[in-house]
Symmetry: C2
Subunit: 232 residues, 2 copies
């Protein structure tokens, strides 16, 4: 059999199988040959639908970005930038946490991935709409990304080994309980994320009062922006 009358493959089928493989066994488990085998075709068939393996993984990453809820940026009062950012961060993190193995691919930046770009666009637009100067809105999009992808990638607690003898008190005087972290992995990571997110939003609130005036307060929908020096 050379070409079937109905195509065996589609971009969506390939992305679906690749996602499942990434979730189940990690990035390293994805080879074009294994992926093709799962799909019941031979390895080179994939190249009729994607230029190379990287493009397949990019599509998997973009499918995760597509899961991020952006509705809070449309619905809410533009003055509620803080609440919107908070809810978006939770949704973003939840999407990444559900597919941790693809995060390194996603963290490289939006590039040309449509869903990733929609996320960047929505955040930037909402912050500008809330009265942030564009340069600051760009920075907010970037720094939130740093924090969220960093938290999804690192799994601080999971990075420690569950082995009491691994952390000699003579070498690391304060890490006596570190081996316990592996157990409490989820709690520690979620606690750190919550604490960090709250700190970030509190800190940005302080900066907001220096950089901008909110928009739309009295039916005036143009941003009244006051530029302030970068360091107060």
């Amino acid at each position: 059999m050379a070409r079937p009358r109905k195509p065996l493959l589609s971009r969506d089928r390939i992305v679906g199988a690749a996602s499942a493989l990434v979730d189940a066994e990690g990035l390293d488990a994805v080879s074009t040959r294994r992926l093709a085998a799962v799909l019941g075709v031979s390895g080179p068939s994939l190249y009729n639908h994607f230029r190379n393996k990287e493009e397949i993984l990019d599509a998997v990453a973009d499918a995760v970005s597509a899961q991020v809820d952006l509705s809070m940026f449309e619905e809410s009062d533009p003055r509620d930038w803080r609440a919107a950012l908070h809810d978006w961060a939770l949704s973003y993190r939840a999407a990444l946490a559900a597919h941790p193995h693809i995060v390194p691919v996603l963290a490289r930046g939006p590039g040309r991935r449509p869903a990733g770009l929609r996320v960047a666009d929505a955040v930037f637009g909402a912050m500008v709409g809330a009265g942030w100067p564009p340069a600051q809105a760009t920075r907010i999009g970037a720094l939130m990304r740093y924090f969220i992808t960093g938290s999804a990638l690192g799994s601080f607690a999971g990075g420690f080994v569950d082995d009491e003898t691994a952390y000699d008190p003579a070498d690391y005087p304060h890490l006596g309980q570190a081996h316990l972290l592996a157990d409490h992995r989820r709690q520690v990571d979620e606690g750190a994320f919550e604490t960090g997110l709250r700190a970030l939003l509190d800190g940005l609130t302080i900066q907001y009062e220096q950089y901008a005036r909110p928009v739309g307060g009295d039916g005036d929908d143009t941003a009244t922006v006051r530029l302030a020096p970068n360091r107060p």
Copy 2:
């Protein structure tokens, strides 16, 4: 020739060559065979010094962690946790920015890497010494890691493509200038890092007043800790 009277290889030589290869050509360029060729030996020789390729890359990552300055945690007044955290974050980011390709390996967590553990130990010890409750000190270590590694990994600006046609205004109404980001890559990333770091420290300062009282104010060097609920 089978075994030379003086060893051709050492762990340090291997790590040095691997670091250079990672910096020059990225993670994917490091294969055991290429690395061995650079070192003038055959591929399997490396296995006399490291168990596998992953261990070599872990050692490269740890060499980067070893560059992080930790002196601010020893020298400073324990009450200056904020200044110490700030300076440490800059030093950490600088170390990662100098070797961006190894960041994905480093971001997986300290594991058993000695230098990475020294970093975690120093931060945790300093925060507890400054009066933070241990659970909060753990979270601070984690969230700072999230932010710093996320910023070193993502290069938000570098993630955009320098191509005016890539970001159609119909699809992404707010990304009209996005293709310019590639040019200003360093500025945007550094600006976002500074803004985020300041926000994080401002936010933590607010939380500090709820969680703890500073230590050593009147020659009393035990922490007086008041536990507060996680959400105020």
